[in-house]
Each structure stands twice: as C-alpha cells, then as structure tokens.
C-alpha cells in the first residue's frame, strides 16, 4: 500500500491561508449569527462585516479572489483544507450546517468587495433559510452582485470512495493482524516492535483525519472470530476519532491510539478456556477476568520498562473498567480522577463491546440501543462531557444501524452526518418493492425535493443482529 506523507502540498503561503481562513470562516459565522438576531444594518452586524472584510482583503489582494468551499464535512479555502481548531469548533459546525441547509457548496468573493455586497448576501442568505428551494432563492439574491458568486453543494463521487475504501480496509486489517501478533509475542515472551505499532496507529490517524467515516465503518463489522484483536483495533480507531473531535493534535492522537490498542493486553493472562467460554462466567471466572487490568499494567511495564508511552498505556489498562465514579473494577483505596485517555477508552470500549458478539455474550446490541443504554450511564460510569462529544460523533444513528425509511426502503447507516446528526447517509439494502439489493445506492437523508421536503427519513430502527444481517457483505 502506498501512502503519501502529506496528501496535499502545503506551501508557506497555504499555511498563512490556513490561519487566515480559520479566522475568516469564524467571522462569517459570527456575521450570520448576528444577522439572525439583528437587522443587517445593525451596528453589531456592520462591525462584524468590517472585521470580516479586514480579514478577507489581504488574502484577496494576494490571490485575486477567495473561494470558500464546503466538501463533505470540511471547508476549503482557495483549495486548502481548513483544519478545525478547538476554539472555532462550534462556529465551524454552525456554518457548515447553515451552508448545508441552503445547499451552498461554494461562495466566491471577488476583489473590490464592499460592506453593502456582504449585507446583500446576508439578506439573501437569511431569506433562503425560509425558502423551499433555498439555493435557488439565494442565487436569485446574489446574482445582481458583481463581487460575490455562489455555487450549489456537490456530492462526493462514489468511484473515488471505492479506491479509498480499499486503502482503509488495508489499514484496518494491518492493525488487526499487528494486534494479534503483539498478543502472541507477549505470550511467548518475544519483544514487541513498538515502532511498527506507532506506524500502524499513525496510518489510522491519517485516515481518520481524511476519511473518518470509512474507518469507523470498519469498526461496525462485528462478525469476526477473533473478537479480542478486532476489539483492540476498534477501540483504538474510535478513541482516535473521539480524540480528534476533542481537538487533540496528531502526536496526541497517536499516543491515544497506541494506548487504546493495548488497553486489554492483560487479557493474555486470562486462561483461554475462560476467555473462550461459550456460556456465562461463574463468579470465580469473573473474578479472574476482572484481574486483567492489573495484569495489563504488569505486562506493559515489563514489556517496555518505564517510558511515557508505557506509563500512559499502563494507566489506561488499569483504569478502563474503573468507571468515571470509580464504581467499577479494580476497586481502589486512595484515588483521584481517571486519566483523560482512560475516560475516552472507557466510553468506546463499552460501545464496541456492547455492539459486538463476544464469546460469552453472543447477542450484541444494536448500535442505537447501545448508545441509549450508555446515555443512562453518562455521569455515573461514563464521563458526561466526553460522552456528549461521543454522541455528537457517532450521531443518533451510528454506522451499522438498521433503519426503515419512510420510502419503504430498508437500509444500513453507512456514514454519519456531523451537522445533521439524525440524517445520516444510508446504504439501501431492500428497495421500496421489498427486493433485496446486492449493490444498493448510498443516499443522504439530507437530500430534499424541489419543494424543500426531505426525500427520505428514518421511521424506525431495527436490530441488525436479530436478523443476522452480515454487515461485512455491505461494508467491505
């Protein structure tokens, strides 16, 4: 597999653009928020417009124009993808949501832009929010303007995604086979190649930054024989995805991915006849299984000696079942708060475990059901703040959820929509006539008809496990 170290060449100028563009997007969001409260002529709006133009003009002077584009969940400014800084997160999300509502894909600002142009654009933008054909309404308002142009939101071509999917699959299976190798090596007393582990996680981080939903989709397939290895990788992927939402930098994401990958390493000490037992554990067996966090610490520190990675991994291995309120295991005497990474891993570990078919718990929960149970645990077992970020990440209908649409189509949630959390992209597996589809279309539930009504909406959710639906058939 070939992978470029930097997917796009970013020059020094681009770097400056990135920084300025973050401010510009943030400021545009501020203008729109203000304009929704005040009249466009109000001083709060005009001051915000002046600031917006002050940010915009240097870039336009340099590049001739400024093109702001929404592709997928990301904004691009003059073709440079803008990364989300934590302090701008809410405003970025807001702007993306407002763009999507109005089906705006691109806004081009041309030199000579005046405050009156921006005010006219604002009027059109606000009016479009109430229109059944929002983009057309906006275009009607904007077309007389000489210095602002708009274009409709484009959909991502499926062909491009197929190639990426292959790469993502490879990344996922590399990680699982590595995870398997690590456990085997530790059992036999061999050394573990930590450099390789880092490279694997770096690769996952890269793909999560670029193609988050595809890699998360891989974690939704739960029918593997080797639960432990897949679970470790799934927890690592979901932890990194959540870490990304929390604004962790690349280095921190790698560290988080690594410690999450090793969180269950103590299970190598649990006798396989217990781990692979087909029936429920006895009290004595549970007692043994519950010691795996303790064994994890010992295994990790013996494996690597004390260094920052080993220390953090040991902490997470020890704490990941302790629960936010310390009600879990191991029981401790004098203890402070759980580590941030432990609280992250605790959430995704529960989610992945609940939605997986484990040997001792054959029937997994449907993703949305698991999320609903976890919601009750937030504030007790789970960190409520991190859980909020988690639900905002996976959406109301997580990837892999089986949904019935009002169009009498049955589908699987294929990709979450970070703006419209209740309107994911869905892979249709049974059409409206009840025919099974081998390769059905992937539809976005945000799509609307010319009257502004949604084309499809979720009516009910079903448990894919109850109907033994093999997600691999559809997701691989």
């Amino acid at each position: 597999m070939w992978q470029s170290g930097n997917s796009k060449v970013i020059s020094r100028e681009d770097q400056e653009t990135l920084r300025s563009a973050q401010d510009i997007i943030n400021q545009l969001s501020v203008i729109l928020r203000n304009a929704q409260i005040h009249n466009p002529g109000n001083v709060a709006v005009t001051t915000a417009i002046d600031r917006f133009l002050a940010l915009l003009n240097p870039l336009m002077a340099r590049d001739g124009s400024l093109t702001l584009q929404l592709v997928g969940e990301y904004f691009y400014c003059n073709d440079v993808r803008i990364r989300y800084a934590l302090e701008y997160l809410l405003n970025f999300d807001y702007l993306a949501r407002e763009f999507k509502k109005r089906e705006i894909g691109t806004v081009v600002f041309l030199p000579g832009l005046r405050p009156s142009d921006v005010q006219a654009f604002l009027k059109g933008f606000l009016a479009a929010g109430f229109s059944s054909a929002p983009f057309d309404a906006l275009r009607d308002h904007v077309s007389p303007l000489e210095r602002i142009r708009v274009d409709i939101l484009k959909k991502i071509a499926e062909g491009e995604r197929d190639d990426t999917r292959k790469v993502v699959k490879k990344v996922y299976y590399n990680a699982v086979s590595f995870s398997k190798g690590v456990m085997t090596k530790i059992k036999s007393g061999e050394k573990v190649n930590i450099r390789k582990a880092k490279r694997i996680v770096e690769s996952m981080v890269d793909h999560l930054l670029e193609e988050e939903s595809l890699l998360i989709g891989m974690t939704a397939i739960k029918d593997y024989d080797e639960y432990t290895y897949h679970h470790s990788v799934n927890v690592s992927i979901l932890s990194v995805a959540l870490g990304q939402r929390l604004g962790l930098n690349k280095k921190m994401l790698t560290e988080l991915g690594l410690v999450a990958l090793f969180h269950d390493i103590g299970k190598i000490e649990v006798p396989s006849e217990i781990l692979n037992k087909a029936t429920s554990f006895t009290e004595e067996e549970w007692k043994i299984v519950k010691r795996h966090p303790i064994w994890g610490v010992r295994a990790l520190l013996k494996l690597r000696g004390l260094d920052p990675t080993a220390i953090r991994s040991s902490i997470v291995a020890f704490e990941h079942h302790m629960n936010y309120d310390l009600s879990g295991y191991p029981r401790v005497r004098r203890y402070g708060d759980l580590d941030l990474y432990s609280r992250i891993v605790c959430i995704v570990d529960q989610y992945d475990a609940m939605t997986s078919a484990r040997v001792y718990s054959r029937i997994p929960l449907a993703p949305d059901k698991a999320l609903s149970i976890m919601m009750e645990r937030a504030g007790k077992q789970l960190d409520p703040l991190l859980f909020k970020f988690f639900t905002n990440m996976v959406g109301i209908y997580p990837i892999g959820a089986l949904v019935m649409l009002n169009t009498r189509e049955l589908g699987l949630v294929y990709e979450s929509d970070t703006v419209f959390l209740d309107r994911p992209r869905v892979l249709i597996i049974v059409d409206r006539s009840g025919n099974r589809l081998e390769k059905g279309p992937v539809v976005s539930l945000t799509e609307k008809d010319p009257h502004g009504n949604y084309l499809r909406s979720i009516v009910t959710t079903l448990d894919p496990n109850k109907y033994r639906i093999n997600l691999a058939e559809y997701f691989l």
């Binding site: 929390l246 999320l371 691989l476």
Partner: protein
C-alpha cells in the same frame, strides 16, 4: 553512468546532505561547525529551489535516483543512505520551494538519529510524520508493517465474514418487521455548547501534567490488590523502576513521596513479614549509582530542585549511597551541584565516617579537598586519623583544608601535627596551622602560638604570616596576650629595624582586634613617635577601638 545536468546538481545536493548528517551527529547544536553545516545545506537547497519547483529523490534499497538517473549507490549494509530510508518504507522524498532553514535543520536532526539503537522508539517515518513538514514530503510503502505470516490475514478474515451470508428470509423478516413499528430510537444528541468547550479546554490543560504520579498511585494500589507474595515482589521492582525514572527526570519530590508511601505501606498487615525488607530495598535503590548519577546530572545541568524535598531525599538515603555520592562529586562541573552533593555527604557521613574517608584516597586533589571539607563539617573525632594523613598530602590546597579541619576537630591528638605545621617550610601551611590553633582556642594552643610569635626567628618571617599569627593571638582576649602585644608594640630595635617595625605593626593591628580600650593611650604614644608604616597600623587600631567604644 555518470549523471549529467540537473541530476549532477541533485547528486551534489545529496552529497551535501550526507556530509551534513555526519556533522550534525558529531557536533552539538551551538557549535560553529554545526551552524555552518546547516547554513551551507540550506544555501545549497535554496539555490536549487530558486530555479526549480521541487527536488524529488526516488529511493530504492541501495540506490537513490533523480529524474530516472542514479545519483547514489552503495551495496554495503553499513552507512547506506538509501537503505536508511528504504528499510522504514520511505520510497520518495521531495523538497519543495519554500523550504526554510528550520525545516532543513529539523530534517538533518531526524536523519542524524541512530535508529539502530534499541531504545529509540521512533523510526524515520514517524519522526517525519510528527514533524509534519510544510515543504518536505515523502511517500512510504506500508507493506512492511505486515508480518510475512500475517500477509493473508485480510483475505482470510474477509472470506470468513462473507461465508456467513445474510439469509434472504431473515432480511425479508426484517423488512416486514420494519412496517410493524420496530423500535424508535430514544437517543437524543445534545448539541455542544460554549460551556462544554470551556470544560474541555480545562480537561486538556489538566491532562498536560506528568503521568508518572498517577502510575505511582496505581503501583501502590497494585500492592493492596496483590494476591501472592511473588506479585508484591514484582510490584516493588516496578516501584524501584519508577524511582529510577523520577531520578532521570530530577523529580526528587516524587521520589520522596514514593518513599513516604512505601513507609506507610510497610505497616500494612498483609505485608508485615516482608514489608520492612521492601522498604529497605527501596532505600538501597536510592543509593545506587544509577539513581545518584541521574540526580547529579540533573543538578549539574541546572534544573530547578526543591531544596526541601532534596533534604527529605537525603534523609531516606542509606550509607550505601556514600560511594556513589563521592564518585559523582568528582565528576560534577558546577559549584551548585557540588554543594548539593556535599551537603548530602555531610548529612549521611555520620552514619559511616570511614566510608566518607575512603574518598581521601582519590587521586583528584579537588575531590580530596571536598571530602576533607565534608569531614570537617561532620566534626566527628573518628575522622581525626584520616585527616592527620591528609595533612601530608602532596597538594598544598589539600593540606591547608586538612589543617583547617584538624583545627575544627580540636582534639588533643591533633596538637602535635599542627605544631609541626607551624614549622613547615611552606608559609601557607604555617599560617593554616596557626589559624587551626586559633580555631581550637585552648590554652595549649595559645601557648604554642605565643611561643612561636616570641621566637627570635619569627621576626624574620614574611609580614603576612606574622600578621596572621598576631590575628590568631587576638582571639584570646586575656591579659597574657594583651601584655605580649603591648610589649611587642613598645619594643624597639637597633638592628633589623624594618622587621621589628613589622612586628610592632602586627601587634598594633592585633590590639585593635582585641578590643581593649586601655590600649589606646599606649597606641597613641607609639603613634606619635614612629615611622609612617607603623603609624598607619596604630591609627587603624585606635580608630577601631574608639569606634567599638
């Protein structure tokens, strides 16, 4: 075939890079050679990138290519620049226009790393990835991440999964059930608020703190959670490692915390038998050279140290630490660091004076002098025998320190040796001996100094020496000394008048120090009828006595 045109330039740049890598490995980053290397390499790239958009190098196992032409080849395994990148999966490197000096320097630092060493956890790709250069790009082949026996993993896993095809009847059942209402999800996603973000920022700030403290807490919890003696032993080994880790980072406060907790855990009923042993083991670990040397390094490089914690740390040390402390004392470069170690030896030395005294056998004079200082500060008479030996050391500085120490100890055993010092051929030793007697302050000491100062030959000694002796005498503020000084002050001579004037000046000086104001009339009368040299000393003495008044 020899490269031509652009590839020839590319080859030259590559050679510059290889040479620069060697220099960066060899010199510290403040060395002029290092700085020159980075500047030259940057200049080389800048010239090329001024004319071209980018420089791309294709990397194979033993060769590097530019524009299809081979510009580097090395069939050997060692020092192979192509293999250096190839083995970690790098297949292409591109330097783009806009490359700046910082990027070049960082890149050189990365390629200067010795990745073959086991303790390096990163490979070249990881470092390039973490650094995320704007103008240096790379292409990697990730195939090597998969073990040979795992190559088929993906295919096998997929096959297994796809064997379990969804039963069309189940799917139909799901479809039908979908119309029955199924289950409506009751999950509600609450949008994130500004307050959430603020809380998150606080969490992230909190997370930046070190993690070793938490691990220590866990290790002690593990002791309570242990079910077997062997497990406890294992945990204590890990706690020892934690101590060592803290020492490497200079975290003395945490080491002290660990020891306090270990002391507390010792009381644990389940540990009663072996508890004391574990604690002793930890204290012993503190004194090991690997721990002491780390701390010494931290002290030497000037990291801030919690003085209170250091004191507590020393309190936990056992006497096994003495040889390690002495060893590092000889290696330290800064006064500050030496002071910390000397203080530790002073505190610890009482436990084993002979272990401290072993340091006197070292060949380095400065270390021996420091050890004598330690012994002097300990002020234990058991050190006398060692110090007496040190008085005969070949280095004058050591001898002086030893004499001073003997004066501080001041026992009867040292008198003879100090007396011999007063007759030493070296004036500095004689002065040191006199001062040592002054420190002793005994009657015997006074008599000896008086005797020396009264001696005929004493008059011919150097002025500074005589002044030092008289200064010593002034410490005994009694009648005998007073009278001796007055007598010396009044004494006139027909011959050797200059030497006699020096003696009188010394006496005047000492009278000033003695502090008896009844000396003033005598001093004044002498001052009225003497030469300039003596008059100056008399005036100083009078002023001092009047001032004291």
């Amino acid at each position: 075939m020899e490269p031509v045109g652009e590839s020839l330039t590319a080859r030259d740049i590559l050679q510059t890079l290889i040479k620069a890598r060697k220099n960066v490995r060899m010199y510290p980053d403040n060395n002029p050679m290092y700085l020159k290397t980075v500047d030259e390499t940057f200049a080389r790239f800048s010239r090329y990138l001024g004319e071209h958009e980018a420089l791309t190098l294709a990397i194979k196992q033993n060769t590097i290519h530019h524009d299809g032409e081979e510009i580097y080849a090395n069939p050997e395994k060692d020092d192979n620049f192509a293999l250096f990148f190839f083995k970690d999966g790098v297949r292409e490197l591109t330097f783009r226009r806009g490359l700046n000096r910082d990027e070049i320097e960082e890149f050189l630092k990365i390629i200067a790393q010795e990745f073959d060493r086991e303790q390096v956890d990163d490979d070249v790709v990881t470092l390039l990835w973490e650094r995320d250069f704007e103008n240096i790009h790379y292409v990697v082949d990730e195939a090597f991440l998969v073990d040979i026996d795992e190559e088929e993993y993906e295919r096998k896993a997929e096959e297994t999964l796809k064997e379990r095809l969804t039963d069309p009847n189940d799917l139909l059942r799901a479809y039908k059930d979908g119309f029955q209402g199924g289950e409506k999800t009751d999950t509600a996603v609450v949008p994130l608020s500004d307050g959430d973000l603020q809380m998150l920022v606080k969490e992230l700030e909190k997370d930046a703190a070190g993690k070793i403290e938490k691990l220590v807490v866990i290790l002690f919890e593990l002791i309570y959670l242990s079910e077997k003696q062997a497990e406890i032993e294992e945990i204590f080994q890990l706690i020892r490692e934690a101590v060592h880790y803290c020492a490497r980072r200079g975290d003395i406060a945490l080491i002290v915390h660990i020891l306090h907790r270990a002391q507390h855990v010792m009381q644990e009923p389940s540990l009663k038998e072996g508890g004391k042993d574990y604690f002793t083991m930890l204290r012993y670990e503190l004194g090991q050279e690997r721990v002491i040397a780390c701390l010494a390094h931290v002290l030497d490089v000037g990291l801030e140290i919690d003085t209170g914690a250091f004191g507590q740390f020393v309190g936990f040390l056992d006497k096994n630490a003495i040889p390690s402390l002495i060893h590092v004392l000889g290696e330290l470069k800064t006064v500050r660091a030496r002071k910390y170690i000397i203080d530790a030896l002073i505190a610890l030395g009482k436990k084993d004076i002979h272990a401290i005294a072993k340091g006197l056998n070292d060949e380095r004079w400065y270390l021996v002098r420091n050890i004598i200082y330690v012994l002097r500060k300990i002020a234990d008479r058991r050190a006398t025998e060692h110090l007496l030996r040190a008085v005969r050391h070949s280095d004058l500085r050591v001898r002086k320190e030893a004499i001073k120490a003997l004066g501080d100890i001041g026992s009867h055993d040292v008198v003879q040796t100090l007396r011999e010092c007063l007759d030493d051929e070296n004036g500095e030793v004689r002065i040191a001996g006199a001062r040592a007697f002054g420190t002793m302050g005994t009657e015997v000491a006074k008599k000896i100094i008086l005797e020396k100062a009264s001696n005929k030959e004493f008059r011919d000694r150097e002025f500074d020496e005589k002044k030092a002796f008289f200064e010593v005498l002034s410490r005994w503020k009694d009648q005998a000394v007073f009278e001796f000084l007055l007598e010396t002050l009044r004494k006139k001579a027909l011959f050797n008048r200059a030497r006699n004037e020096e003696n009188r000046a010394c006496a005047a000086y000492a009278l000033g120090l003695l502090g008896r104001k009844d000396a003033i009339p005598v001093l004044r009368s002498v001052g009225d009828s003497c030469g300039d040299f003596l008059r100056d000393f008399v005036h100083v003495a009078v002023r001092k006595l009047e001032g004291d008044q």
